[in-house]
Subunit: 344 residues, 2 copies
């Protein structure tokens, strides 16, 4: 991995850690030494949907950033809005909002109608990362290579900004989903709420913190990982489909895609926490080991974890195989993106 | 005030601090020494709507507690649900949810249709108190005479429980407002979000913390107090009216009632922080002075603050004078309740 970390270059506007890890655009920075990017390109030249997926995801990510810019203006009181904006615009792959928009289109909707929901899931993601990093949680000083929100603004502002992002996420869906049938708007709010709350991200975070240093069963580990990681991805994809008017079968397939991909990504995170440097990770490496977290790598070792993650992402891809390949390109793209990460 | 604090008795199920301060029921505990309660009774015997208001509020508070019991069951993960329940069921006058239900009825709706919204505003209130008490905010160890949520469950659980209550509040309105036209459901979610977020309760809390030890103008003080205290009361009343199908004029009048009452109550809180004991308050007395908070008492002294608060509550009463007196009885009751508090 150190090979890629050594390549100079600025993070992109959509916040990936280095050019070698950029999933779309910026190919001018690819060098001969960048084996991973080269392999990615070879892969894409043999599989057109990946190239299309990359372009679609890049376009969607750009639109999401523009919409978030409008959704979180720098109003009075400035300090809280600065902290909200800092956490939302500090980078990130924009996996969840781009899949939310893609999901809406996949079931026949217009992606613009899902934009408020896409912004909302990214607000929730930012909220969860702010809380994650607090001293009483994972006590992490850096996030995406920058100081964590509470290190810049103080704990009180970080907590209030996180809560404000959470509140705004629901308000934004309700207020800005113009022209969307109201049963879909209400349905998306219910789905998001169930993914975020005590039975989702926040409950999962608590289990994660409370399981430090303890023995957990495979079932408990899966429950923790699904709650803290998969559920928001699942809600992102399902909410997009709800807003787009997807039917039960479509929603079910997309839910399964996200559930599998989300768990696969969490296992990838566990692996990267061990094998990558702090610079590559953008956060303190080895933190899971230091905190004696319940992780898949602790449970089954790195190699077995890799195989399990690959299997899950493969299962995710199966779920979208029946959809139109062009419209499903962003889904194929993201699955391939994480499989490529796993290959190194 | 010490006179009333000395009266023995348990807090009621709706969590008031002592029998003398109970706004409904439990009159068997009233003694000859309890001047305040006696005066209250004399007042009521000359003004029937106050007695009716007391009964209506007591009934509504009971129903709200039953609905909250159902809304926040003790599920897995237990620790987070225990913390959510601890904060929600630790007492409180239930001012906001009872006015939410009353508001729905006042504009011609069925109070049951506003019950999910009434529960939601009480969840938000509990959330704000959990955050308020955190070490990085007001650093308060006791709340309503009991250990603050973070003292019982730890900071991490308290913060995650607070966020879960906030998330659940929106989800609950969206999921449980059965039979309510969806434009009203969505309207209530927007109203609640705007009252809670960075421009409401949470932004106000930040200004409140950041103004400690600083000189603020009268206008800034009013902005802080309205944001941190009035806006949620306003949303409670307005959301009830939205769910009940109130017209613009009705909503405007109810908003003004709540805005004035909310600010009046905040000033009363400022006064009580100085003149009441920790036992009477149920939280550490003199905390505002200790933290050098921006308060009305600091700005204009106790007597002037009292007069200003009385004036505001009087203005609140004027706003509801044009409604049917029986249906408006809970509004009259609460205004009178706080005026009585101010008289001592």
């Amino acid at each position: 991995m150190a090979l890629f970390a050594a390549i100079p270059g600025n993070p992109t506007t959509i916040g990936l850690k280095s050019p070698s890890r950029t999933p779309f655009g910026h190919l001018k920075l690819v060098t001969l030494n960048n084996i991973k990017a080269t392999m990615n390109n070879i892969h894409k030249s043999h599989f057109p949907p990946l190239k299309l997926g990359e372009e679609l995801v890049a376009m969607k990510a750009k639109k999401v950033l523009e919409a978030l810019e409008e959704a979180i203006p720098l109003k009075h009181p400035e300090e809280i809005h600065k902290a909200m904006r800092y956490s939302v615009f500090s980078g990130g792959k924009r996996l969840r909002p781009t899949l939310c928009l893609a999901s809406c289109e996949l079931v026949g909707g217009d992606e613009n109608s899902a934009m408020p929901t896409a912004c909302a899931v990214e607000m929730v993601q930012a909220m969860s990362l702010i809380l994650d990093d607090l001293p009483c949680m994972d006590d992490e000083d850096i996030r995406r290579g920058k100081p964590a929100t509470h290190k810049v603004f103080g704990e009180e502002t970080a907590i209030l900004a996180a809560s404000s992002l959470l509140s705004l996420s629901f308000q934004h869906i309700a207020e800005r989903s113009i022209g969307v049938p109201l049963d879909r708007v209400v349905g998306a709010i219910v789905e998001l709420g169930s993914a975020v709350g005590s039975l989702g991200v926040l409950g999962g975070e608590l289990l994660d913190v409370h399981c430090e240093g303890k023995e957990v069963s495979m079932e408990e580990l899966e429950n923790i990982c699904v709650a803290k990681s998969s559920k928001l991805l699942e809600a992102s994809v399902v909410c997009g489909a709800i807003i787009g008017g997807g039917n039960e079968m479509e929603i079910q397939r997309l839910r399964k895609y996200a559930r599998h991909l989300g768990l696969g990504c969490q296992i990838l995170n566990d692996i990267q926490d061990i094998i990558m440097s702090t610079e590559e990770l953008g956060r303190t490496a080895g933190k899971d080991l230091e905190n004696d977290k319940a992780t898949y790598t602790k449970f089954m070792g790195i190699e077995e974890s890799k195989r399990f993650s690959q299997k899950l992402i493969g299962q995710a891809m199966e779920e979208i195989a029946l959809f139109d390949a062009s419209k499903a390109a962003p889904f194929t793209y993201w699955a391939n993106y994480f499989l490529t990460e796993l290959a190194y």
